[in-house]
Amino acid sequence: MASMIRRSGAATSVAAYAALAPMAVTVLLCYLGTMVWTARVSTTSARTFPADDFVGLAQYVKLFDNDRWLVSLHNIGIYGGLFIAASLVAGFLLAVFIDQKVMAEGVLRTVFLYPYAMSFVATGLVWQWMLNPELGLQAVLQQWGFSGARFDWIVDQDMVIYTVVIATVWQAAGLVMALLLSGLRGIDEEIWKAARIDGIPRWRVYVSIVLPMLGPSLSTAFVLLFVMVVKLFDAVVAMTQGGPGTASEVPAKFIMDYLFGRANLGLASAASIVLLLTVLAIVAPVYYAKNRAGRRMEA
């Protein structure tokens, strides 16, 4: 009789279902629930409070009429690509170099991680100062006699988004480092030995053997960074307030502004839903493909 019930797989147990119950409840209530709720609100004219009228897709129409929203989407695209790539590369390099049995590893690890520990309200301000052409690096360089030195991206509408990349990579690279370091340290010693026998240069071992083995850690890091991209807010507020003009506006700031200061819950919800759908459109195919590949391996 057991064979009737358990056909789905050998490794199942009641405990496993029970263990996932909190997750199931959370997902259904908190995540799925809010998603549905947000979707619903986005079809109302809600302002400070959720309303229960129905205005169809009016909020969406308004949203895509909004210049600032379009700029935000555009910015997040550029920003996301650069930020994720740079953070992964920087984090990986830091992890690799810190893995070389260096002295003062603990100090270095802390140095690379500390930005992650500090509120961006303050560190963002420091970045704003440092990048400010009148106060910061450009001023210093010019004082030192490099009168032609220019580094005024933060006040340049075309470049400002890159300064956000710099500051946020500075903040996130340490976390990626820690994540990859933990993966790196988990690799069986024998693999290293085999590579040494094969005469593979260390850097090559990292690139060709270790990096692929870090696949899961990398994908964790990737998702983490992706989430950071979508939720990017603090850094922009602290560094540029979305300016100059709307040149460094991002979707999360748009949503927050309309949610609180501008008291337009309906529009903010519509923006959240659009953002979520965009993310899904990017992530879902990858997730699906990976899952299928995984299932094929197991089957």
Binding site: P22, T26, Y31, T34, E105, S119, V121, K193, P216
Partner: protein
């Protein structure tokens, strides 16, 4: 122990003076090692990186020990002319955060009370989820997980309103358990992902062996998987302790007036709309607040264990 210094051996060599005559590479001990070109390259890179990372910290620290007059001059990188630790003292115990002017110290224990259970619970839940997802085939689990991950992309602020209502309905709004629960909920996607992917990289055979040994879900988790998760638990700790310690929004909304975390004070100090700003105090307060996660980063090294699954399987 890849290339491990082999300290005892080298010490013996050095003492007995039995250096091999024409070694292709001399015994690799601390200092001798530090001066090969490759080592210099490594240290060079790390120094450059450290400089880049430390520059903002330098500005913060320098600012924090300057009097406001100096700061107004805008010489950002200048060393303080008249260094003062008054801002630090003020940040800790006398900066105004509203009616009260007693610095950020007020919320310290509240923060501890929030961060400890929240971090522990969220990591535990994440680990259990990750473990269940990667080793146990549970119908519908991957769909759940997919929704959960999608949830990670919704701004927390959007979820506030419904969450407030739910917690209020459960009579948990404005209580310590309430805020712990909220942190667990918001930490769940990333924690689950972290552990799921970590477990995916472990040899499946270990799990199979434990199944044969009769291990049930929990036994395998606690006795086998958790000990093997040390490095990732450390990463999870780093993430959660930092995140929850620095969290301002959820603490403010859900913790209730009795339990407001330290970051609410911090925010009150550094984030004013129309009040005057004491940058030196702000910087000092920021650095002070981050000391707890920083300490964790510093001591976490010994748990970044090397080769934790070494010797487990042949292959």
């Amino acid at each position: 122990m890849r290339g491990a210094g082999g300290a005892p051996g080298e010490a013996a060599l050095a003492q007995s003076g039995k250096q091999p005559p024409s070694p292709a590479r001399p015994p690799r001990s601390g200092w001798a090692r530090a001066f090969t070109p490759a080592r210099l390259g490594v240290y060079g890179f790390l120094m450059m990186a450290a400089l880049f990372f430390l520059l903002p910290l330098y500005v913060m620290v320098a600012t924090s020990v300057k009097p406001m007059e100096e700061i107004r001059l805008g010489a950002l990188f200048a060393l303080p002319v008249a260094p003062t630790f008054e801002p630090w003292r003020a940040a800790w115990q006398s900066a105004c955060t509203g009616l009260e002017c007693s610095g950020i110290q007020g919320g310290f224990w509240n923060s501890v009370r929030i961060v400890v259970p929240s971090a522990v619970l969220s990591i535990l839940v994440g680990a259990v989820n990750g473990y269940a997802l990667s080793f146990w085939r549970i119908r519908g689990a991957s769909v759940l997980f997919g929704v959960l991950m999608a949830g990670a992309f919704i701004p927390a602020q959007v979820m506030l309103y419904p969450m407030v209502r739910m917690l209020a309905a459960a009579d948990l709004f404005g209580t310590l358990p309430g805020v712990v629960l909220v942190h667990t909920v918001f930490g769940m996607p990333v924690m689950t992902l972290l552990f799921r992917n970590y477990y995916a990289a472990l040899p499946q055979e270990l799990f199979k062996a434990a199944r044969i040994d009769g291990g049930g879900f929990w036994r395998i988790f606690f006795e086998l998987m958790l000990p093997m998760s040390v490095p990732v638990v450390v990463v999870a700790l780093i993430m959660q302790v930092t995140g929850i310690w620095n969290d301002f929004l959820l603490g403010l909304v859900f913790a209730g007036t009795e339990n407001l975390p330290m970051t609410v004070q911090l925010n009150n100090i550094i984030n004013t709309t129309t009040g005057e700003r004491l940058y030196n105090v702000n910087m000092a307060a920021t650095i002070l607040t981050s000391l707890v996660p920083l300490t964790l980063y510093f001591v976490s090294g010994r748990w970044f264990v090397r080769g934790i699954a070494s010797g487990a399987v042949k292959g």
